[in-house]
């Protein structure tokens, strides 16, 4: 009882709320994955990206 009962009754019991929950979490999952991948890429390539060397070429 507790969290799982609440979750089951609110989300998983009906197919409609289940589908909406999947789509909504897919949206946030995509955003989170993109941000995470970008930050990993920028971390690996630190010092080589345009935003790091921009000050040398622009006044």
């Amino acid at each position: 009882m507790g969290v799982s009962t609440l979750l089951y009754n609110a989300v998983f019991k009906r197919t409609s709320t289940f589908a909406v929950a999947i789509l909504a979490s897919a949206f946030f999952f995509e955003r989170g994955l993109d941000v995470a991948c970008d930050s990993i890429f920028e971390n690996i390539n630190k010092g080589k990206l345009w935003k790091d060397i921009k000050h040398k070429y622009e006044q």
Partner: protein, 274 residues
């Protein structure tokens, strides 16, 4: 001697008749002729195939006989194997239900939530993958940035004097940029829209009244009209004689529609088409 002396002990051995029913002391000796029907025994079936197994199974009306011959010959296959142990499935069972006194209702929501969370995570991953595939597929169909950059042209408006119609090439088609005089604009604005084949007012076709920008392809069969010709002082198509006015509208001839107006915008003294 005592044993021999007792005549009652010797009595069965001294009998002249032959017993046909065992009395426990002497075996039944088959010395006397007994008329009995010979019992036909079925040859025992070797149970190898479905067919031979079937023959071994008792089917149809069965006559149960007792006695030594009957008990050895009845070939009965037992399928109720009470001697086989029920396998242990506890490795596959949920922890919360292993206790035989546990109530199903107490942990039902926990178990269902777990199953649905697994399904939902799979669904989220699938939705993300499907969206990415569809997005990449559709975006691969659209024009790339270099093609889009080439698809625009800039025209300097200073280069077109008043009353002239300049021709440019835009996306493989001729483009007319016409610098209209004030009298031409006045004339086209006064045209009764209801009298036109393709009813469009002059203000719908231009952004700045002195500049008319249309695609130079006749809407009839695609010839290129001649500027400043025809009965209405606009364009004239030499192929089949369509007359367009100075607003590019069809006034006479076979063409069904006005000359097409592309998307354009004025930037200071230039016009960007596309």
């Amino acid at each position: 001697m005592n044993v021999i002396a007792k005549s009652s002990n010797l009595a069965p051995y001294l009998k002249a008749s032959v017993p046909t029913i065992a009395n426990g002391l002497r075996p039944v000796a088959a010395t006397g002729k007994v008329q009995k029907k010979k019992i036909a025994h079925p040859t025992p079936v070797e149970r190898i195939l479905n067919d031979s197994l079937n023959k071994a199974i008792l089917s149809g009306p069965i006559r149960i006989r007792s006695g030594p011959a009957a008990s050895t010959q009845v070939s009965k296959v037992r399928f109720a194997h009470t001697d086989i142990r029920v396998p242990d499935f506890s490795a596959y069972r949920r922890e919360s239900l292993k206790d035989p006194t546990a109530r199903n209702r107490d942990s039902a929501d926990d178990r269902k939530t777990f199953s649905y969370v697994v399904a939902a995570v799979t669904g989220v991953g699938t939705a993300y993958g499907a969206k990415t595939i569809v997005y990449d597929l559709v975006s691969s169909l659209s024009a790339s940035a270099d093609v889009l950059a080439l698809a625009k042209i800039e025209v300097k408006l200073d280069s077109v004097p008043e009353g002239k119609s300049a021709v440019f090439k835009w996306r493989g088609k001729p483009l007319f940029v016409r610098h209209r005089s004030a009298s031409e604009v006045e004339k086209e604005r006064k045209v009764d829209v209801s009298s036109l084949r393709h009813a469009q007012h002059d203000s719908e076709r231009v952004q700045r009244p002195e500049w008319l920008i249309v695609i130079g392809v006749c809407t009839h069969l695609g010839c290129v009209p001649i500027a400043n010709a025809g009965d209405y002082g606009g364009y004239y198509c030499p192929c089949h004689g369509s007359h367009y006015d100075a607003s590019g509208r069809i006034r006479r001839g076979p063409a069904p529609l006005n000359l097409e107006v592309p998307n354009y915008e004025f930037v200071d003294n230039t016009v960007v088409i596309g």
